[in-house]
Amino acid sequence: MSVVDQLSALDLGTNGQVDETLQRIAEEEAKVNEKLEALLAKQCQIESKMSGIGRSLTLLHTVDSDSSKLNAQIVNTAQLAESVSAKVRRLDLARCRASECQQRVHDLIDLHLCSQGVIKAIGEEDYEKSAMHIARFLAMDQQLLRRTADDVQGSITSVSDAVKTLEDATEKTRVLIAKRFDEAVKSDDLASVERFFKIFPLIGCHRIGIEKFSTYICQKLASKAQKELRNAQDIAKAESRLQLAYADRLTAILENFARVVEVNQPIIEAFYGQASASLIDMVAILQHECDAEVKNLLMEFNKNRQIQYRSKQVNESTQKSAAGGGSVGSNSIQALGHYRKPSGGSVDKLNPKEIDAIIAEITVMHARVELYFRFMRRRLQVHIETCVPEKEQMEIMERYEKIMKNSDLRRQMQEILSTYLLLERYFMEESVLKAIGLDAYEPGQQCSSMVDDVFFILRKSIRRALTTQSINGTCAVINNVAACLDGDFVAALKAPLKNGYPSGYIDLAQAYNAIQTTLQQGKLHSSDADRVRGNFLVQLNNADISTEYIETLWQTMEQEIAGTFPQTSPVERQLLDSCLTELKAVRDTLKATVDFGMQQLRSSVIKPRLNPWINQFLNYSHNLNEEELAAYEAGETFVQFFIVQLDGLLNSFKSSLSPRNYDALVSILATEVTIQLERAIKKISFNRLGGLVLDQEVRALGSYLTGATSWSVRDKMTRISQIATLLNLDKISELSEYWSPENNKEMSTWHLTPNEVRTFLTLRSDFRIEDIKRLQL
């Protein structure tokens, strides 16, 4: 900004302002001067620095040239180093080739030695030696040898001759060894068989060796098995295990195969080590033979034990019984021992005892096979962990699983398991029916023999199913058990319950009817009715005990299953759980049966007997004055009479009912008493003293019923005791003390609605209706 601009920009209107401006300008001038002087003072300093820079410039030039020289030198050195290392590399290559060459020379020398040795060894029939030579020859790179022969033009004949000799010798040895092996097999010379078996891997015939050896062993085992099978019965007789003859034979066969694998595994690992599939190859061949032998055995088994015939019988009888009736229960009990053919004639059924031994034998057979498969799997696992590279392990195990799954043995076991299930089911159902049919009651006991017998049979069946080692089979049997309980057993329990409890002439109408029928038929019925009555109670107890047993059965089976199958997959776990739940569902059916029986008792025993007793209550006036009260209390009160009657009723059941059923009966009785008593109370009127008497009576009744059982029946009495409390009030106004819960802690919540309270209060003849209506509830 120029001075003129500054001047024009300033306000020069007044003198003072002009002065002020002047002063400012002067100040600025002084400042500028100061700055200029400072700059001038620095001038020499700057000049000296400039000259310094000029001098160092020349120095820098030399630095530049030096560094470029250095650069050139480094590049040079690098080039040198590179050429040196190239030489080293070439040297290395040369050394490699030299050693390769040496190897080839060695090979060539060995070749000559081998070719000479092999002929000599073959001539001397020293197969081990010749095989060693051939193994050495086979270890050489055949391609390389041929090229070597091409390379060495001069002595081409000698090298190619040697190769040719050896190749010929290999062929010859292979044929020879195979022939010798076959001869050894023919002459059954185990030592030489093993000797040649060990030679096979040396001449590069791993597969052939395994195959030949396995076939040899199979042959041996087959003849052995055949002989044993022929004598199966005799051997068993000698060992006095006739029942398990075929299971024992099967065990022997499987043991033989397992032993072969066990014995030969180390040999194979030592001699056939590099061919990882050797053992599995052997197992596959053995398995094939094993299938055939087991098949023979099972054919014999089926023939001798008449499996076909028996399963046909079982099938027929189950079909008949299925066709024969929708009403399973009573019908099948009657049909025990023999069933009626449609034509009318009866045919003897297959006796379950007869097939018991066969079932046991089948389970043993199945378990043995499971054991055998497990043994083989473990052997292979050990084998592959030590000898097989990691990545092939899975492959081999998968191959084994496939061999196992597709094997005939497996298939036959599935078939035999199916037979087992058929027979086991028949055995179980028939035995249960028999147990039901032979049901015997011993006086003094609460339940009859049937419950113990049936559950013993069922437990036996499940345990036996567990010994098959098959989860599927076990589950199937558990399902069958549930079906059997649900069907025959529950039906047998329910049949007498359905007929009802003959109430024993307390009810006059029934007594009259009974007498009339007696007169008509000319025979006395009372002992008959007693028997029916006893039977009713026994079956009721049976049902109750059965619920307990089924729980025990379920728990023990769960433990045993866990013990038998320690390693189960989640799916198998769910399968087992689901089947066990089925068993639990049967328990609910049984409980329903007990309830059903209890209802029968309630309608045919409790209700009709209570009725006249409660009616007695109406005969006692509850409008009493002091004298009447004294007289009443001196005489026999209602409650005394009532309790004596109840006690008589309960005592008649106490000894014959199981504790739980008895408790249930008391509970039903209590419910019924309170309902009927409440009805009776509504029919009469009370005054103050009458209310007092009622309250005493209800208390006495409550304490009696509570004492009669271990169950709590007190809550059933709550309503009636609250009614008694209402009728025992001094004044209506007292009610408020009882009504609101905060005033009265020990009183439980009211079971009566306000309307009901009013209704009951009107029963007191001395309470005024208006007061009752006025009540705030």
């Binding site: 299925a322 929708g326 298939r411 599935q414 078939e415 398991l417 199916s418 037979t419 299930l421 058929l422 089911r425 599927n472 089979g473 589950c475 199937a476 049997v477 399902n479 069958n480 549930a482 079906a483 009810d507 006059l508 109408a509 029934q510 009259y512 799916v571 769910q574 399968l575 689901s578 089925e582 569902a585 209802q599 309630r602 309608s603 209700k607 009709p608 009725n611």
Partner: protein, 280 residues
């Protein structure tokens, strides 16, 4: 500034989304394969019955046993394949025979209630008949399966159904007829086969479905339908049970009445006896 921006972006809070698997989460009753070919829902509309919905609204949650579904049919018709398609959404074309039974559990959520479907995939081969038969008991649903490319498997479907029904004499199970391998048929063959199978289904009182495990055609729909119908049936059972217990009380009252009736009978008969006594 940038953090402020980020805050602004975050401001609309992410809605709390609970991921429901639409496969097993039902709010409505899935429709039938074809409305004409179902005996199971003639009386109902396209959705759960109103009393079922009402019952589910009650505070007391019903205790439901898992539903047992059994698959039966000739061997290699594809029972395992459709179960695997639904449970694991995978398909294997190489045939592997089922040994005895296979078992899968799938949990459904229907109208907010958990409902388990136990699938019992039985073996079709003859030699497993005894094992498989032992599992037929107490089934809520029977799915009879046949191969749409093989007529004879449809013929034997009836036999399978009968043998399964033999074990279920109590509660009548729901029956489905499922034709598998629908993808292997041409359009005309498919239409023809469906007509034949539809007739067979109505004869069996079954609901008909054509499915394909390879392409997944209608597999999920079939299982949803099974779950929906079985669930409705279970709830109806429970409603009936509650009514039954209510009626039981009524019944005890009537039995009391019959008792009084007996008494009256007695009185009249006593007179009769007195008369006869006079005659003596």
């Amino acid at each position: 500034m940038p953090h402020l921006l980020r805050q602004n972006l975050l401001l609309p809070a992410p809605p709390t989304v609970v991921m429901h698997d639409p496969r097993t989460h039902l709010r409505h009753l899935p429709p039938a394969y074809s409305p004409a070919q179902t005996p199971l829902s003639r009386d109902r509309e396209r959705d759960f019955a109103p009393q079922v919905r009402y019952h589910l609204e009650l505070p007391r949650r019903p205790k439901l046993r898992p539903c047992k579904v059994i698959f039966v049919g000739d061997c290699s018709v594809g029972k395992t394949a459709i179960v695997n398609r639904f449970c694991f959404d995978k398909f294997q074309s190489n045939y592997k025979a089922t040994i005895g039974v296979d078992f899968e559990l799938e949990n459904f959520s229907i109208l907010g209630h958990n409902y388990g479907l136990e699938m019992w995939d039985t073996a079709g081969q003859e030699r497993f008949k005894c094992i498989a038969g032992a599992y037929y008991r107490n089934a809520s649903v029977i799915v009879v399966t046949f191969d749409m490319t093989k007529r004879e498997t449809l013929e034997s479907a009836k036999k399978w159904l009968n043998s399964a029904l033999n074990y279920n004499t109590g509660q009548k199970p729901l029956i489905f007829l499922a034709g598998t391998k629908a993808d292997l048929l041409t359009k005309e063959e498919f239409v023809r086969m469906e007509r034949v199978a539809g007739l067979a289904a109505s004869e069996m009182q079954a609901e008909y479905w054509s499915v394909s495990a390879r392409s997944g055609f209608k597999v999920t729909e079939l299982f949803q339908r099974i779950a929906g119908l079985a669930f409705e049936e279970a709830i109806k059972q429970e409603i009936k049970y509650h009514k039954g217990t209510a009626q039981e009380k009524g019944k005890t009252d009537t039995s009391a009445k019959s008792q009084t009736f007996d008494l009256r009978n007695f009185i009249s008969s006593r007179f009769a006896r007195q008369k006869s006594g006079c005659a003596c």
